[in-house]
């Protein structure tokens, strides 16, 4: 009996009749992955036009990126904003998730919904609202303003991830620690936190990505030397296509892929 005629599922359907499903899924995988990696060869093209495959190879777009003080400044602004956003959002969201989960008040549900509204309100509305308020408060073009806005945008996702982590954690362990004499704070840090660390780390990563990848709010409230890298990329893409973006994109894709692979490897070994 060949593989084609062997049953593929519990309904005894043979693989032969499933080929179309495998074919479609293969196409979907190509659709999901290939376009992202196309930017890699494009970034080494010598031509200013987007030809594929490039006729000649060069690293001029990388030189362009690393040699441009504007791109470098924008990169630093984005990295700094993303790191500070992580440092603000992660503790705030952890506190909120823990407080709402443990206090079990009727109000908690309502507050939880309030805290995830930044995810439900269209970002553009938050963007112009923040822009308007910052104009009054003179916070436009400031790191603190940018970071506060990004922290708010990241809050819902981080809160959801950490709350999910808490729900799957057995709170009795903390009660045991406390009945053995640990204060609530100590019990949290030495018993609870280590066990929900994966959700906290995932949340921190999400906060980083949300801030680093954010365009719309930054479009309004930053500019000039405070422009974030994604804001500059967006404006460059909308006006004309500058292959420097291919080199920046390549760097971002490689960083993401490596991080994802590491997470997959370490996540797997931890689970075992």
């Amino acid at each position: 009996m060949s593989w084609l005629d062997s049953p593929a599922s519990d309904t005894q359907i043979p693989h032969r009749n499933r080929l179309w499903l495998y074919f479609i899924s293969g196409l979907v995988i190509i659709f999901l992955i290939v376009p992202t990696f196309i930017v890699i060869p494009m970034s080494f093209s010598a031509s200013q036009y987007l030809e594929f495959p490039p006729e000649s190879w060069d690293i001029r777009w990388y030189e362009n990126y690393f040699g441009s003080s504007e791109w470098m400044t924008a990169t630093w602004v984005s990295l700094k904003a993303a790191v500070i956003t992580v440092l603000i959002t992660t503790p705030i969201a952890t506190m909120a998730a823990y407080g709402l989960y443990v206090s079990q008040l009727r109000l908690s549900r309502f507050i939880f919904i309030l805290l995830i509204t930044p995810m439900m309100v269209p970002v553009i509305l938050i963007a112009i609202g923040v822009f308007f308020a910052y104009t009054k408060l003179k916070l436009n073009n400031s790191m603190i303003g940018l970071v506060l806005a990004h922290s708010t945008l990241a809050l819902p996702m981080v809160l959801i991830v950490i709350s999910a982590g808490l729900r799957s954690y057995d709170m009795n362990q903390e009660r045991v620690a406390r009945s053995l004499g640990a204060s609530r704070l100590k019990a949290f840090f030495i018993v609870t936190l280590p066990q929900i660390r994966f959700s906290v780390i995932t949340g921190a990563l999400l906060a980083f990505i949300v801030s680093f990848d954010e365009v719309i709010v930054a479009l309004f409230i930053t500019g000039g030397k405070m422009s974030t890298i994604t804001r500059s990329m967006f404006l460059a893409l909308r006006d004309q296509i500058d292959p420097t973006i291919a080199s920046i994109s390549t760097i971002m894709v490689l960083v993401t892929s490596i991080a994802l692979l590491l997470a997959q490897v370490f996540g797997q070994s931890k689970r075992k």
């Binding site: 999901l32 938050i126 609202g129 308020a133 967006f234």
Partner: protein, 305 residues
């Protein structure tokens, strides 16, 4: 003697109970206080500014209280068209995601866990990659001399370069790519929890593979599918970056119009009114789907058919 001692003990227990309950309430409030920084952040950055915008939208250009900004939206054909485009794009993107996402999630859910995890990387990689990078990538792939046009013409599928970008085609392809993980992840999650014994039982009782899928598997996967659809549709409604780059100015979504109004005219009243309507429509979609999902659960729990 025994009686009075007993009642004294009861009183003490009662006093203790009251004290303990007070302590507990105090502790709960203190714990609840941990969420105050987060609440403040949301109030200062979202609630007050958005409320302020709503207030501004109630004044016309002369600064007089009126519903002008809203009535104009109803009267003007151009605003109607923008909302129609927005819903059109969202609807078609969601449909595309369902058509290509369902078979893929089904395929992943049938694989052994190890292989499925590898397949999931294909979903997670774009999910974690910068939105802007992916949008740029599609611009490269779909342009006149791009990969798709080149290969299509070399294979003889079409003669002249197709217009795949800077229009509706490009917008839909790019948005479907960005939204697909949001559909596949919840769908795959719910498919994994389906008890395969139901399907086995169906085929044991003589159902063809298709019947077993259609009558048993598909209904059981609907909650996950529905959750994915709602997330994708709602995210599409507020989308900005991808249609702005891949639509080439031909596809104008509500959020893009709002940006233009602020950028060119600095008119917060009109822009806010558009934003408020967009938000209300988004919340309406969420509310309706919430009700429908509940209904679904009630029906599924009661009937069991």
């Amino acid at each position: 003697m025994a009686d009075s001692a007993n009642s004294m003990g009861n009183t003490l227990t009662r006093i203790n109970a009251v004290g303990l309950r007070q302590d507990e309430r105090r502790e709960r409030l203190a714990l609840f206080g941990l969420s105050v920084p987060a609440i403040l952040l949301v109030i200062v950055i979202v609630a007050i500014p958005v409320g302020w915008l709503f207030w501004l939208s109630l004044f016309n250009d002369e600064g007089v209280l009126s519903t002008y900004n809203y009535t104009r939206m109803l009267e003007s054909k151009s605003y109607f068209r923008i909302f129609r485009t927005t819903f059109n794009v969202s609807f078609m993107t969601t449909a595309l995601c369902v058509i290509i996402g369902y078979p893929f999630a089904y395929f992943l859910a049938q694989l052994p866990q190890r292989w499925a995890n590898i397949g999931l990387i294909a979903v997670l990689l774009p999910f974690w990659t910068s939105l802007l990078v992916r949008t740029y990538a599609w611009l490269v792939v779909l342009q006149r001399k791009g990969l798709v046009n080149q290969w299509g013409m070399e294979l003889g599928l079409w003669d002249a370069p197709l217009r795949l970008v800077h229009n509706m085609n490009g917008t839909l392809i790019g948005m479907a790519h960005i939204m697909l993980p949001f559909l596949v992840l919840p769908l795959y999650g719910s498919m994994r929890t389906i008890d395969q014994d139901y399907v086995k039982a169906a085929s044991n009782l003589g159902a063809s593979p298709f019947q077993a899928f259609w009558n048993i598997y598909l209904p059981l996967s609907l909650p996950g599918l529905f959750a994915g659809i709602v997330v994708v549709f709602v995210l599409c409604l507020g989308f900005f970056v991808t249609p702005a780059v891949l639509g080439g100015g031909r596809i104008i979504m509500v959020s893009m119009k709002i940006e233009t109004i602020i950028d060119l005219f600095f008119n917060f009243g009109t822009a806010s009114a558009l934003g408020v309507v967009l938000m209300l429509l988004t919340l309406l979609v969420l509310f309706i789907s919430h009700k429908l999902l509940r209904l679904d659960r009630v029906l599924g729990g009661g009937g069991g058919s």
